[in-house]
Subunit: 287 residues, 2 copies
């Protein structure tokens, strides 16, 4: 038995789902680490990983791949604290929704340790290992931000990982481009959802909502601590997106208030045509 | 054979789905009417209704229930043109997403004809009978706006209809309250979706989107003609909602730009807790 070791640090919603999804991945033994006794007990009982431990040193000492699945600040702290504990030649990666700050934090690693930023575009509005499931990543995008000097064998390994956990595709980009686009596709969606839920109509609208309302507001039940960190680590891009959104909403508001039906029709036709040009299949569309 | 007759006027996405969902409803014979030869041919080929006809007079002459499933202006025009062609004692209803304008339009009907406003909170971003399906209404709300003087037997019939087509519940309210809440739960969701799609990032974000983006923007591929009418018939309520939304977005933008993480955490905690207090199960949630 000469198995390689894949360490997952943090067995929350994403780490737990990743451990489950990675079962049978090549010849890796999966070791899961978490500091919460309740999480560890759940992970043991449900055999989420081959080994679970509360000891970070034990988890990473022999690991050929270490995937950091904590909140952003937890990842940055772990990199600082354990910079000298990783096995030479190993690959460290993560699952964080911002990439520039994480890639900068990983600069502290010794030269013998590779780092590839990773962001699986999956998740739910729930938290914790009890909500983890192996199918979470099916049909979603896996985004990689390798270093310019990352080992091509490590990049290839991450691509095979994406295939194994069922991702639709693997997309490589720079941390800067990732954060700029994610401010639009993910962070802004969460700001919209919480803003809609700040409306006084929220508590009286039950019985009057359809799939558009459920689809838009689902993610408002977010992990406030996690998203505070994600937003704070990408504030300039996010505020730029919000300013643009507010401008587009104002523009619709003015056409509506103006009462010119033809102008409204023309404007809606343009927007709807734009959407139709962008085909975004995913695991969660109606029908 | 002494079947009652249920006429569906307009066999588009909603009318077609309603005809399919109504199969086997009590002792009703379903007659479907549409002016489009292609729609009629499709309806005949797929046996969407027991009888299909291009002749409105034929459809409504014997009908005990007439459900108007056209765009809002089409419904208003049909009521005016056929006000004297309905069978005395019959029930006329509709499926329109605004109710005050429709209820006002139905005032033209003779005293012998009852009218109950109806809005099934279901649909997709697609149009036309070719996208209709019998399961469309399963798990959704059916909203009714009876007249103060509507026959209780007619209200009861609509409630049984809601159960037959699989609705989660039947909610009765006034047209004014319907339109005020729907501006928030439905119309505003569509304005958000098109506004997000007006962003210049739309065409470069592919590969970087997850379920929150797909959920929020799905309905942007809307029927511009239909939604121009719906928005125009409910403009004051909709612009009020948009003003409130823009205010909430601005408020988040300011807290973000201010850089106070604790203030952002507190604000997100409040919004997320609001959402968690509102349980909105539906047929289209993840998992």
């Amino acid at each position: 038995m000469n198995k390689k070791t894949f360490a997952i640090i943090g067995l929350g919603l994403i780490g737990g789902s990743m451990a489950l999804a990675l079962k049978g991945f090549e010849d890796f033994r999966i070791i899961g680490m978490d500091t919460s006794p309740a999480t560890l007990a759940f992970a043991r009982e449900h055999e989420v990983a081959d080994v679970v431990t509360p000891d970070p040193a034990e988890a990473i000492r022999e690991a050929d791949v270490v995937m950091l699945c904590m909140h952003p600040q937890g990842i940055l702290d772990f990199l600082q604290e354990h910079r000298d504990h990783f096995k030479p030649g190993c690959l460290v990666t993560d699952v964080c929704g911002v990439k520039s700050a994480i890639m900068a934090g990983a600069e502290c690693l010794p030269e013998t340790v590779d780092f590839i930023g990773c962001h699986p575009m999956a998740g739910t509005e729930f938290s914790g290992i009890q909500n983890a499931f192996a199918e979470m990543f099916q049909g979603s995008h896996l985004i990689l931000t390798p270093r310019p000097g990352s080992d091509p064998a490590h990049v290839a390994l991450m691509e095979r990982l994406g295939e194994h956990i069922g991702c639709r595709d693997v997309v490589k980009t720079t941390p800067e481009r990732h954060d700029q686009i994610l401010a639009y596709t993910s962070q802004m969606m969460h700001i919209i959802a919480v803003s809609v839920c700040d409306d006084e109509n929220l508590f009286t609208c039950k019985g009057f909502e359809g799939s558009s309302f459920r689809g838009c507001t689902r993610v408002a039940a977010l992990d406030a601590g996690l998203w505070t960190q994600l937003f704070s680590l990408n504030t300039p891009a996010l505020t730029t997106c919000l300013d643009e959104l507010i401008g587009h909403l104002q523009s619709y508001r003015e056409v509506l208030a103006g009462g010119d039906r033809q102008a409204l029709l023309d404007k809606l036709t343009v927007s709807a045509d734009r959407k139709r040009q962008v085909d975004l299949p995913g695991p969660d569309l109606l029908q």
